[in-house]
């Protein structure tokens, strides 16, 4: 594999470790730095570690899927939610909450399961709308993604409006994203799915470079374009649905991190995808520190932080840009 900016990669890895270390030290409960690894604070340490892992995995996954879809759809506005996954998963989650299945036995699994199922079904729906004859049009895919998302959002609002206050509160909390996880098995499943997906994406990244020149160019260069599209849509939907099913909707990471990373390592997806994974993980771990620390002990939903912190950061980058990265 040809990685273009090894120094930048090492720097990004170092930053990720630094952010993780900070996230172990800082939390809603003050623990003296020297004692965080002691037996007394074992429970707090485990809690923080699981949050760091989940935030890292979620950030890396969302950033990688954003990079994949921006290249594949040739659209700078593409993000992991553009194919309708978010609203599908959202509908699954609020249905689980409203129907009460999330309170039944095995409740900690039923909400993620419903969300995952909703996300995958919505994506399949979007995929089949845009499939014409043997081909999937990328413009059609974007449009049907937006339309399906709008329809499902209406349904989400309807389900939420029928809820009691308590259900409304947990729905809202889920819809705004969170990195709290109590079930280690669930964390393991999500981590495995996402790491596996990211690894395959890195191995196949060269094909995204070809795809970004346009489908006809790619066919003329001997790429099996339909197969590449299906593989990348499958990877994207699976890891996004997995992440969303436990974290809820964390916006902005998948949109801005690939743009920021492209400025650091250039447009070659073989460097862009691993670098986006590192940047996304670091960014979300840092945002999670803020989410825990601000207004503690309640905390703020992490999706709120990513939008409030990420937005201005991105605007500054856009203003400083020497030349457009996208045309």
């Amino acid at each position: 594999m040809r990685i273009k900016a090894p120094n930048v990669m090492i720097l990004l890895l170092f930053l990720l470790l630094l952010a993780s270390a900070a996230a172990i030290m800082i939390g809603s409960v003050s623990v003296p730095v020297s004692e965080i690894f002691s037996e007394d604070f074992r429970a707090i340490l485990m809690l923080r570690l699981s949050r760091i892992i989940l935030a890292g995995i979620a950030g890396a996954s969302l950033a990688v899927v954003g990079a994949i879809l921006q290249g594949l759809l040739k659209n700078p506005l593409a993000d992991p939610y553009v194919l309708g996954i978010s609203s599908g998963a959202g509908l699954g989650a609020v249905v689980a909450i409203a129907s009460g299945v999330s309170l039944l036995a095995g409740g900690s699994y039923s909400l993620p399961f419903f969300a995952f199922l909703g996300g995958i079904l919505a994506t399949l729906f979007v995929y089949f709308i845009s499939k014409k004859a043997a081909r999937v049009g990328t413009e059609d895919l974007l449009l049907s993604g937006v339309i399906v998302a709008a329809m499902l959002s209406g349904l989400i609002m309807f389900v939420v409006s029928t809820m009691e206050t308590e259900g409304m509160h947990s729905s809202l909390w889920w819809l705004l994203g969170n990195t709290q996880i109590f079930d280690m098995k669930l964390l393991t499943i999500v981590s495995v799915v996402s790491i596996f997906g990211i690894a395959i994406s890195i191995l196949l990244a060269r094909n995204l470079n070809i795809m970004s020149l346009g489908e006809e160019e790619a066919i003329a260069m001997g790429l099996n374009v339909e197969r590449i599209k299906i593989i990348f849509f499958a990877i994207s939907s699976l890891i996004t649905a997995a992440v969303v099913s436990v974290c809820g909707l964390i916006g902005f990471v998948g949109l801005i991190i690939p743009h920021v990373t492209r400025r650091l390592v250039g447009p070659d997806h073989r460097s862009l995808i691993p670098a986006s994974a590192l940047c996304g993980a670091t960014f979300l771990i840092l945002c999670d520190i803020l989410a825990r620390k601000l207004m503690s002990p309640m905390g703020i939903p992490i999706g709120v932080i990513t939008a409030i912190v990420g937005g201005p950061f991105f605007i500054i980058l856009l203003k400083k840009a020497r030349r457009p990265q996208f045309r």
Binding site: G71, K74, I219
Partner: protein
């Protein structure tokens, strides 16, 4: 057996037939031009000669083998396509782009090897792009970008080079430069060239034979001196022209004549 044979080819978009029963055959090493009015099906014909479009009838046969039965990499090792311009949304460098031409030789999960890099160095030399290797593609002029596209096509090491109006966005100097380059490559590498051209005078001077396409059918296929006649051009293009057959032997020059004087 002809080198490249197009038999009763039919093709179009979503049920609408654009080319309707096109047949012709080309010998190895020929430079064949395709001319014809807008909408005659020139680009559709080129796309159906590769896998970009599937034929709805007939076929394309290279040394007797049906091109549409080859898999995508086998096709791309034989045919390379050069379009009007490259619209990359990302600023890849010249070297990045030309390396992408090696795609049919690289496995799905693999990256370029030293041999691919060597091949790319060679085609960058041939196309005189050595000084541009690290330049972002979007900082080049249209003429330079066209050379990059030709280099990328050569990196595919094809037997047949298909060009779709490669000079459409270029000034007269670059138009000549690009076609001279294609002609010299054709000679050195025994390439077979099929090139859609709008400029009849360029077609006249660079092509061994010209296919005149009209309403999805081959109206004529012959050397330039037999195609570029004032009455043929008036009939097919609806343009009044003056044809000078004497200035360059074998290459008639076509001058459009305005309907009124200023």
């Amino acid at each position: 057996m002809a080198f490249l044979e197009i038999k009763d080819l039919k093709s179009g978009y979503s049920g609408r037939t654009i080319i309707d029963g096109v047949s012709f055959s080309i010998e190895k090493g020929e430079f064949v031009g395709i001319i014809g009015p807008n909408g005659a099906g020139k680009t559709t014909l080129l796309k159906t000669m590769t896998h970009i479009l599937s034929p709805s009838g007939g076929g394309v046969f290279l040394e007797g083998k049906d091109v549409h039965r080859l898999n995508s990499t086998e096709m791309a090792r034989r045919f390379a396509m050069v379009g009007q311009d490259l619209r990359s949304i990302f600023s890849f460098t010249v070297k990045d782009i030309v390396l992408m031409g090696r795609t049919p030789y690289i496995g799905l999960f693999n990256s370029e090897t030293g041999d691919d890099l060597k091949m790319v160095d060679h085609v960058l030399e041939l196309t005189d792009l050595k000084d541009f290797i690290e330049r972002p593609i979007d900082e080049l002029s249209a003429g330079e970008r066209q050379r990059v596209l030709i280099a990328k096509a050569l990196a595919q090491d094809p037997a047949i080079l298909l060009l779709d109006e490669p000079t459409a966005h270029l000034d007269i100097g670059y138009q000549m430069e690009i076609l001279e380059l294609v002609r010299s490559l054709k000679r050195e590498r025994q390439l077979t060239v099929v090139c859609v051209l709008h400029d009849l005078n360029l077609a006249s001077q660079y092509c061994n034979r010209i296919i005149l396409l009209d309403k999805g059918k081959v109206a004529d296929f012959a050397p330039p001196k037999d195609i570029l006649k004032y009455d043929t051009i008036e009939k097919i293009f609806g343009a009044t022209v003056l044809v000078n057959e004497k200035a360059l032997p074998g290459s008639p020059l076509v001058v459009p004549i305005a309907r009124s004087r200023p």
